[in-house]
Symmetry: C2
Subunit: 300 residues, 2 copies
Amino acid sequence: MTLKQLEAFYWAATCASFATAAERVHLTVSSLSKRLAELEASIDQNLFDRRGHRAVLTSAGERFLPQAVALLQHAAEVRQLASTGQSNFAGQCRLGSGELASITWLPQWVQSLRASHPDLSISVVVDIGEALADRLEKGELDVAVIAGHARRPKLRSIPLAGASFALCAAPAQAQRVKTLNADSISQQTLVCLPRGSGVTHILDDWLDRVGARPRERLVCNQWGAAAGLVAAGAGIGLLPMGLAKALVKRQQLRTIRCPQPLRSLEYELHFRDEDPRPLLAELIRTGRDSVNFDAPGPFS
Amino acid sequence: MTLKQLEAFYWAATCASFATAAERVHLTVSSLSKRLAELEASIDQNLFDRRGHRAVLTSAGERFLPQAVALLQHAAEVRQLASTGQSNFAGQCRLGSGELASITWLPQWVQSLRASHPDLSISVVVDIGEALADRLEKGELDVAVIAGHARRPKLRSIPLAGASFALCAAPAQAQRVKTLNADSISQQTLVCLPRGSGVTHILDDWLDRVGARPRERLVCNQWGAAAGLVAAGAGIGLLPMGLAKALVKRQQLRTIRCPQPLRSLEYELHFRDEDPRPLLAELIRTGRDSVNFDAPGPFS
DNA sequence: CACTCTTACGGCACCCGTAAGAATC
DNA sequence: GATTCTTACGGGTGCCGTAAGAGTG
């Protein structure tokens, strides 16, 4: 039994396929397969049931997985405590992120990661929450910044921060709509993100509380474009605070006072349950340090 | 960092020399040296100070050792829990034993070990307690049956059982000495083991309590020979219970009643502190099951 | 037929052992 | 000089990747 075998087993057991797992341990599928077979031989147990189309954990494998994870974690601790210098992580690190994070604080996070871990090759995937969760589950991502708490059994999440939003409009329109209420809203177009997005939930929640229904919704799946639409006078938009402030400063937008405050959108860092790598701990730590959804971002 | 490297480190750190350690991990000194160097490189720390004539643990090494041991133990647990069958131990196992155990229950212990672990190659070293402790400390033995508790920092011990002894004499002499008291003893020769032996302590303790001093001591460093001397009429002897009973049955000896009972000699199983191998647990378990200092042994 | 995993096989790298060297007592 | 550990080097084993095979949906 080897630590490498256990590592291979962990990924093979938790990834969508051996192909994904092989990528994580920098092996071809064939070599991974053999390594797993060697592990099975060494403990004299079938960890995978290969009769079907895809390899699936046997009951022995299910029992073995948490043990393997614990041992790998222990090994990582020992390795980390032993080495004097702050662990310089190497290898690949795949971050997932919603668009909001990607245009506010994510770039700074990536930069700080690159600075403290020069040997770490980082890649970023920006997508909607569900897609990111899928990829996390499959083993294609290490962590992802997603609104809300993890719901899937294989994933966990910890709170990062809340993102706050402001209702804005182009200066010309803002003059006409001084304060927002059910009446004034009913005459307006609302620029917002697609259904299912966390921000849209917040907006709907707010509309319910106020008891308002907008005349029309203009859906746009990108913050930059949405901000552009609002600035172009397409309607009232709910924009991230940082973005809004930046555009207000440039006099491209004006914020609209709300009688009722908007809920903030709570983002969390999602990751694979039982990921034994110390890299995860480092990502959590630095992620918490870097998080700031109200950051001005590259558009300011 | 590899489990093999950690194993090598454990033995190198706790054995008298790399040569002894190399033997334990089935390597040449040169290969062991390289493996240790690789471990040091992987955690980027000098574990050994090689300036002197012999390699000695650095402070980093001292700190690392218990961590390595813990991880090895954890790995052993995982390995054991994973494999279905009762762990069939393989490799070498070196038992140390005092003479008394060696002629009473040790043979049966070895037999039961050989039966349950056919792939285990067992060797036995019979010597006095101090020598066995030396060899344990050096890493040349796995466990040793020694009277009394472990005192050296690198060793530990757990109680096994007490050995009881009987005062005996040849039938002709026994008739003359019906019960033993200070007076009768002063006219007798006592056949006993050398000074420093645990049995001799018990005998001296008993003599003190009775307030007696024998006329003469006949020292013999082997139980078989001592029993022979007593049977030949050399004097009164303090013999192990099993041996005494066997010879009494053959009418070669008679036991002598004692007004004061003799203390029993408490034997313990000694082993290296922090030995992470599951083999040790198995030795302790089976040792406790097999122990019986009053067993008749091969001479009966 | 696309996909997933295993087997066969050639090549390279790693690791072990022998032998010689360096340093200490 | 004896002992202990390290370095140099040849040889064999093990492991990885490519390619082909087996089985499933």
